[in-house]
């Protein structure tokens, strides 16, 4: 049987192999003024493998770069998205777009795709992919909210969790927090109890001035690893450079 594996492309953009299928999460393949990955983009769009599905958690540019991703060779690839992404995805020429609300489910080639709740500055969903006993949770850039504790109750054991850790705050919005921080990600890890957790969404930068005027974030993933040692000692945390494939 094929192995479940994850290759981080950049930020929250991953290739997830599960049940012999390959999924892409939150595509981000370009840069704009004030939006930088802070790390390499490990795979260019022409070099992407054949995708069986694409998951998009919300419409923010760093998670839903459809201007760039529209160059993917097959725009009939199934997209599973937050409902706020549907119209922009269709406008970019994607023909097979399915909105999933929390706990709604779809299926591609024996892999179930279930949306889970999320909370961010805008409407967001997160996703669980399951094939047999393996399940991957993709948390986009959600806050930690109580509803996430329902994931193992409703969807069963999670094998691998991909979690944001930078605790992004928006300074001009009364310093509002919009993404879970390292401690909260470790708390969620303790709830989900995966064998493996991989942090993402931590090197993002708005640049020299933007990090001072607009955003405030924790760029050190070791804080998550340290917090998980205390709160979720049975989960292995791996900090993964873009381009490295990790098998479960």
């Amino acid at each position: 049987m094929s192995k479940t594996a994850v290759t981080r492309i950049t930020h929250s953009c991953h290739l997830i192999e599960i049940g012999g299928r390959t999924f892409l999460t939150d595509p981000w393949f370009s840069t704009r003024p004030g939006y930088y990955q802070g790390e390499p983009i490990a795979v260019a769009i022409p070099d992407l493998p054949k995708l069986d599905g694409v998951l998009i958690s919300h419409e923010h540019y760093d998670h839903c770069d459809l201007d760039a991703f529209a160059a993917y060779r097959d725009r009939s690839v199934p997209l599973f998205v937050a409902e706020t992404v549907v119209s922009t995805a269709r406008r970019h020429g994607f023909t097979n777009v399915t909105a999933l609300a929390p706990w709604e489910q779809a299926e591609v080639g024996g892999v179930s795709i279930t949306a889970a709740p999320g909370k961010h500055g805008v409407y967001e969903v997160t996703f669980v992919l399951r094939a047999g006993s393996d399940a991957v949770y993709f948390a986009g850039d959600t806050m930690l909210i109580p509803e996430l504790a329902d994931i193992p109750k409703r969807l069963g054991h999670i094998s691998l969790a991909l979690l944001p850790t930078n605790g992004l705050h928006i300074r001009p919005a009364n310093n509002m927090q919009v993404v879970m921080n390292a401690d909260e990600a470790a708390e969620l890890t303790a709830i989900l109890k995966p064998e493996l957790a991989i942090p993402h969404h931590y090197t993002f930068t708005k640049g020299f001035l933007g990090d001072r005027l607009i955003t405030h974030s924790d760029k050190n993933p070791l804080h998550f690893q340290d917090a998980s040692r205390t709160l979720a000692p049975e989960t292995s945390v791996r900090i993964v450079e873009p381009g490295i494939r990790i098998e479960l």
Binding site: G34, F208, L209, R212, L213
Partner: protein, 268 residues
């Protein structure tokens, strides 16, 4: 300590233009754009900034200023912006903060409008370029030099010079600077369409304004910040139209420590 190089930069629709660039320090990159007072009005600040924070500061001389030649193809503020975007491409720089004073601030705003991913933020220091009803930019060309000094500085006596006492070479450069200002900015120093175009910007922006600026008043500065979404405005005390010249430490702190600034203190 600086090194100066001349770069030949491709200009869209024309041959390459030469631009002289003084470079200070190494590290995080900044493009520092002078105003009508010429490159010497930012040189001391560049040196101090590079030494204080281990950053790289690039100071181009706008073609036509400082005794340099101005090619026909570079005769407007947008053309200067395109020239400097070409320079950043040529140098392959990333995460560049563009800082501009007066006319240089206008160029910085036009660079931001080009939306190059290389430029991550802009700092406008007593910038000109927009039209604000009831708050005209002082007409540099009808003022005596004495009046220019009085309007430009909080404490003008430190900076006042008598142009008639300058050696002929320096007088020629001053005349060239004056002609370059007229070419690039005209006597009004504004583009009526600019304020509307700024509303599309998404780039992190810091607007710094000398409280004693008599060339472009403080309300004009507030209007500039209001025109740019998410821009932050900070009033600088005891300084005039060229804070980087009159109070450089204050400007360095305002930029470097901007994460700690309570910008609400400067709203009215």
């Amino acid at each position: 300590m600086s090194t100066t190089k001349t770069y030949s930069v491709a200009v869209d629709g024309a041959g390459p233009a030469e631009v002289s660039v003084a470079e200070y320090g190494a590290g995080q990159p900044f493009l520092l754009l002078h105003g009508g007072a010429g490159p010497q009005s930012v040189a001391g600040f560049a040196e101090k900034f590079a030494a204080t924070h281990q950053v790289r500061v690039l100071v181009p001389t706008h073609p036509g200023f400082g005794g340099t030649a101005r090619p026909e193809s570079v005769g407007t503020i947008p053309a200067l912006a395109a020239l400097y975007q070409g320079l950043l491409d040529q140098l392959d720089l990333a995460d560049v903060t563009v800082i501009g004073n007066s006319l240089g601030g206008w160029i910085a705003a036009e660079i931001a409008l080009l939306e190059s991913a290389r430029v991550s933020g802009i700092v406008l220091i007593d910038a000109v370029g927009i039209e604000v009803p009831g708050h005209p930019v002082a007409d540099f060309f009808t003022l005596t030099m004495d009046e220019v000094f009085a309007r430009s500085f909080h404490d003008p006596d430190q900076f006042r010079i008598d142009p008639a006492t300058l050696p002929p070479a320096a007088q020629a450069i001053a005349a060239g600077n004056r002609a370059a200002i007229a070419t690039y900015a005209g006597s009004g120093m504004t583009d009526p369409a600019l304020v509307g175009r700024l509303g599309t910007l998404e780039i992190p922006t810091l607007v710094l304004w000398g409280e004693s600026d008599g060339m472009v008043d403080v309300d004009y500065g507030r209007a500039y910040a209001a025109a740019i979404p998410m821009a932050q405005f900070q009033l600088l005390p005891d300084t005039g139209h060229s804070p980087q010249l009159e109070t450089p430490d204050q400007v360095i702190t305002a930029i470097w420590d901007s994460a700690n600034t309570d910008f609400s203190a400067f709203t009215r």
